[in-house]
């Protein structure tokens, strides 16, 4: 573990002592922001992590510990009898809640069936609803997404849809009962950050449920921007798992999300074209 993350402060030591589940050497101090509520569940961490792309389950566990995430996504695939290690056991040990996704589904029908299977497998009503419309961009198929969301809400699911950065679609998804919306910043895995920050702000204004920026995050500043724009949480997958040092990047994302949330709630100064001195002119010496 890097020096930058080694436990040195008394606060950190205390927290580590009280939380033995955390990986050794990783900052175990509680996040410094207000908790997030989604569908009646309270999350202290505003970082949602994807579990895909990690080269080993051990690395995944260390990254979750470093990121401090309490909610992580999982997928459902045909069982591999030769698979080594149990993802479920690792996530259980990490103490995180599962958010099953419907990744790979291209129709409302497939997504609904996958959500039902996930409910059976993971004993949770929560689902990150993905209905993909295009293989090159992995952009959502809006009509199918809305149809699937409506059906799943009717079946009692807590639906968190992966959606475009369209405020109208976001509102329609909330109208049919989605518990949150997860607009993309840019295409999945692209690391291109938030290409249309104005639309993310508009979505924040358009809906009264949590907004979770999903997809496109490349580095810490992208996550901070999302929070500054008013997102309630950020979902990060590839940016952590495919970083050169995923554990260190998870720690960076944790700090970035907290920084963005603090800045958002602190209320930033307005942008001005011209300078405004912070040092008063009053009492200036006459040196002429």
């Amino acid at each position: 573990m890097a020096d930058a993350m080694s436990g040195r402060s008394p606060v950190r030591q205390d927290a580590a002592t009280h939380n033995g589940a955390r990986a050794a050497g990783v900052d175990a101090a509680p996040p410094a922001t207000d908790p997030l509520a989604i569908a009646g569940r309270t999350l202290r961490s505003r970082l949602v992590m994807g579990t895909g792309g990690f080269s080993s389950l051990a690395l995944l566990a260390d990254a979750i510990a470093a990121g401090g995430s309490e909610l992580v996504t999982v997928a459902l695939r045909r069982i591999d009898p030769a698979a080594r290690g149990s993802l479920i056991d690792v996530l259980d040990a990490a103490g995180v809640e599962l958010l099953p996704n419907t990744a790979g589904c291209h129709t409302a029908r497939d997504a609904v069936l996958t959500a039902r299977l996930a409910r059976e497998a993971f004993a949770t009503d929560w689902v990150k609803l993905e209905v993909i419309g295009d293989e090159d961009t992995l952009m959502p198929d809006a009509p199918e997404l809305l149809r699937a969301a409506e059906e799943l809400v009717e079946e009692g699911f807590v639906v968190l849809p992966y959606t475009t950065d369209d405020p109208v679609l976001a509102r329609r998804l909330v109208d049919v009962g989605c518990a949150a919306v997860m607009p993309l910043g840019s295409p999945i895995g692209s690391g291109m950050g938030i290409r249309n920050p104005y639309n993310i702000s508009l979505i924040r204004e358009a809906v009264d449920v949590p907004v979770v920026l999903d997809a496109g995050i490349g580095t810490a500043s992208d996550a901070t921007l999302a929070m500054e724009l008013g997102c309630d949480a950020v979902m990060v997958a590839s940016a952590i798992s495919r970083a050169e040092d995923p554990v260190r990047m998870a720690a960076a994302m944790r700090a970035a999300v907290n920084a963005g949330r603090l800045a958002r709630t602190a209320g930033r100064i307005p942008r001005r074209l011209h300078a405004r001195a912070s040092t008063p002119d009053e009492g200036l010496a006459d040196l002429a």
């Binding site: 999982v74 997928a75 459902l76 695939r77 069982i79 149990s86 993802l87 069936l113 059976e120 895995g189």
Partner: protein, 67 residues
């Protein structure tokens, strides 16, 4: 012919779903597993009793790393 996760299996019609699961090393108590037969979810409580028909398509799914 019964299809098990997309592959032709040696299962015969009349066998139970539990028998199919056994071939994949899955027990009826195993966590993080879900089963669909012919596109419909089969609740865990029915795994032991469900009898497979001749052309059943059985999908056995489990947790996988994913975004």
């Amino acid at each position: 012919m019964i299809l098990l996760n997309g592959e032709q299996s040696e299962l015969a019609s009349g066998e139970t779903l539990a028998a199919a699961l056994e071939r994949l090393g899955v027990t009826t108590e195993q966590r993080g597993v879900a089963v669909a037969v012919d596109g419909e979810v089969v609740p865990r409580a029915q795994w032991r009793s469900l009898v497979l028909s001749e052309h059943a398509r059985v999908e056995v799914l489990s947790a996988m790393q994913g975004g």
